[in-house]
Symmetry: C2
């Protein structure tokens, strides 16, 4: 016999969970105690729940399998929702374990009681409350199976305190086979090939595992054989890039530019991507960005898009792509820091195998442009638009991939939503290099104000979109969280600071004055 | 004619809203632009939504009327849920304005689309999405009326982007009378007086406006006339204290102590408080803390408990209470910083009319004990248990009460959930003195581990309840956010730092090494 908490963790470990990003409270203490009895699961403390959920998302994107979170009732879960929204959009598997009051205590509506399911449903593909202690092992296995089944979504298991503490049989259900991506049928591939041959101008839109190395190589074969062009979805969960992979640019963010990029296509073929829609609705601009009637789906998100592309290449008789010659990056050695300079310098200095967690457009887009010619690396982007993703995803990526350098290329405004991630980087001594694009404003909002004809009209508008008075001292914040940090005001500053940061085994932060 | 956004704000202003705690995004830009056209509403930027919702809660508690928040779709709202949970438990009126996609854009499930109602319902007494631009004025008025009606709860109005931008008549509905607290019927008062006379031992449990000066003076009259005793609910939203008010202690937090405090009562009379229940459910300890059959309600939360107490005093023939002699506080002048020393030093130095936002037990309980003999002040506590309340409530309180000193007496662990509040204090130059109780651990969790027989058993347990490796540098964090800060390691340090901080017109932070 053992406790419910221990059988929960033993089941999770047996079913492949080996990291728990935790911000526990009183109702999770039996699980905390049980973590000492189940050392196969590594506990990682976050000072704020959004760090935990974002880290679990980052872990899943890089490891390809779920980590768990451990969160405290409804309010603790709520603090993790924003990054679970991003995880849902990334199709990341995440096991959320949420403690709740003892089942017999819920009726008394104690201060922390709330409707956890109502909070969890919008960001979970599977939600359940464990109804009895002897169901904990089966419920844990069911939650992991649910979140691991494609198209993957977070799963949330609510565990009342009394069930964690109860004495139960030490029986752990045997794990079944790990779910794999459903293959796309040969008939679908054949129809797509037919449409491809009939089309005058084809654009491939790649997302999900079509942006894996295998997917991109198959896409490259198709492009070389047919003259089609390709884009990545605008905000991919994970994209391999550099090192001779084809330069697949992201579909532009603003709808006019995205429409223009697709305007000539009579076939927009989706491989792991959804039909492109405008990020926001603008009066007079259609929500659907591809020409009417042009869209056809080769593989949906969650399906085996890489294999489908390989099958399509074969159906089209496309030979393997020739490796393209890669021009070296010409990065500036001097001058002021501009977003373009930052993008080029980072791309030029990127270590082989790096993971770049990009959040924010200021330097994110210039870096992506430059990074096609960088060393082979992996990029993650903000899939759901809930800002505060970049730093936590960097935490999770570093824990998922020991030995790989992680860069967080992060805008200043969005960094603030989960700034506490810096502390976890310091505590776990993660090899994360944080580059803060400190332009001291919500740049995208000032752009959007321009779009609605209100460019910084008055004091309220200015005040709500500027990050000045006072400016935020990221070097001081990093020091408060135990991360060494410097300010860089010029290209030589950045090159020197980047060199030192990349030589360190632990975290470092560079505040880039733009 | 005007825009939907402007008519929304004009209606809010006409119905008494004059502050907007905002963290807007693209879908709120028309409202941001409109804030320049409606200068009656002061915009206050938070770097994180939990700062905004907690500030609105603090504003409501001190001003007694709602402020608004301005939040960005589902994920932005989600970041504000934890402090809205506390606001709900505090019965604080709050008008949440949440932008959403253009109504015609929702069907396309763009990245930021989510089920906002499912997120909002658990923390709102009223939720609606504005269905048409010409409904915006009426919906805004309805939301303000809903949140202002006792027992007050936050109201959440979702406003699609297209309705904000639409051209609508500049017609603002006239405000009705401001809702007031329902009076408790004479029959209820009479029955309570009868029960009081029949009871051997009575305990008054005060909450809500029974903890106002008027309520406490009426309670004091009853206590002096009858020999009854009184407690404050454990986590009052607002409590007046000091300056000769009766020393009404808080009902203890842990259930054994609370049960003991009530054990002798054959009548537990609730005035604005709910029946006391155990904060968490512990095996073998009943959830209901008062002796069975002892509980009777004079006034429910939201009713006019202060008037009911005055009526009860009259029914019992209790003369006005004599002012009690107040012994001066004997605060230490030297020695190490202990929670008791902090409580006494702060109580001794408290400026008249101060507002003390208490979060965390480490210094919170010792301060409350000492503060009965302090100058007259107002205390706010964490009503819902969602941590990260203290600093935002201090922001809102300072904006609600210009000219009053605000003290945030704040534990270190809980400070981290909304640490970005420091920046708003700096930007608005609020007279907030932040005292961080830096004991470098989640003290309550280590206590709770002891209660379940697992006192820091192994490395996981230690790691998940300690705030060390690295320790958090609050002085550096404050510097990063533009707040002057010092460390205090002894009583003389604290006295000196407190003197300087209280002499400053703006914010200051003192990290107290405990």
């Amino acid at each position: 016999m053992t406790t419910g908490a221990r059988v929960l963790l033993a089941t999770a470990a047996a079913h492949g969970i080996d990291v728990c990003f935790a911000n526990p409270g009183t109702t999770e203490m039996p699980i905390v105690e049980a973590l000492d009895a189940v050392p196969a699961i590594r506990p990682v403390l976050g000072l704020f729940e959004g760090v935990c959920t974002g880290a679990a998302d980052g872990f899943a994107r890089i490891a390809g399998r779920p980590a768990s979170t451990l969160l405290h009732l409804g309010p603790g879960f709520a603090n993790g929702i924003a990054n679970l929204h991003n995880a849902r959009r990334a199709h990341s598997p995440v096991l959320n374990v949420v403690g709740d009051h003892a089942s017999w205590h819920l009726a008394y509506d104690a201060p922390l009681t709330s409707d956890i399911h109502s909070l969890a449903r919008p960001v979970s593909g599977w939600v359940a409350t464990c109804a009895a202690a002897d169901r904990l092992a089966a419920d844990t296995a069911a939650a992991i199976h649910a979140t691991s089944t494609f198209p993957r979504l977070p799963a949330t298991l609510v565990v009342p305190l009394d069930h964690q503490q109860a004495t139960v049989p030490a029986r752990v259900p045997a794990p079944g086979p790990v779910p794999t991506r459903p293959r796309v049928g040969g008939d679908v591939v054949e129809e797509c090939a037919k449409a491809f041959r009939a089309a005058h101008t084809t654009v491939l839109l790649l997302g999900d595992d079509a942006l894996s190395e295998r997917g991109q190589r198959a896409a490259a074969a198709i492009l070389q054989a047919t003259g089609a062009t390709a884009f990545s979805e605008t905000f991919p969960a994970v994209a391999e890039r550099g090192g001779g992979l084809p330069d697949v640019d992201r579909l532009p963010y603003f709808p006019e530019a995205a429409q223009k990029a697709l305007a000539d296509a009579d076939l927009v073929l989706l491989a792991g991507a959804r039909e492109p829609v405008s990020y926001f609705g603008y009066e007079g601009i259609p929500a659907l960005l591809a020409p009417p009637g042009s869209v056809r789906t080769l593989a949906r998100p969650g399906e085996d898009g890489a294999a489908a592309l390989a099958d399509l290449a074969e159906a089209l008789g496309a030979p393997p792509a020739r490796a393209a010659a890669v021009d070296p990056i010409t990065a500036p050695q001097s001058g002021e820091l501009t977003p373009q300079a930052v993008g080029a310098v980072l791309a030029a200095h990127l270590p082989d195998g790096a993971i770049v967690s990009v959040e924010g457009g200021t330097c994110g887009y210039p870096f992506f442009t430059a990074s096609a010619r960088a060393a082979r690396h992996t990029t993650t982007t903000n899939t759901g638009g809930a800002i505060g993703q970049g730093l936590p995803v960097a935490v999770g990526a570093a824990i998922a991939a020991p030995g790989r350098r992680v860069i967080a290329l992060q805008s200043d405004g969005s960094a603030q939503y989960t700034i506490q991630a810096l502390w976890t980087m310091a505590r776990e001594q993660l090899p994360v290099t944080v580059l803060i694009a400190a332009n001291q404003r919500y740049g995208v909002l000032q752009t959007e104000l321009g779009r609605i004809g209100a460019p910084l009209g008055g004091p309220a508008t200015r005040s709500l979109t500027a990050l000045t008075d006072p400016s935020i001292g990221f070097v001081e914040l990093a020091a408060g969280y135990g991360v060494p940090a410097v300010r860089a005001a010029s290209v030589p500053d950045l090159i020197a600071a980047l060199g030192r940061a990349l030589a360190s085994d632990g975290p470092a932060l560079i505040e880039m004055a733009l």
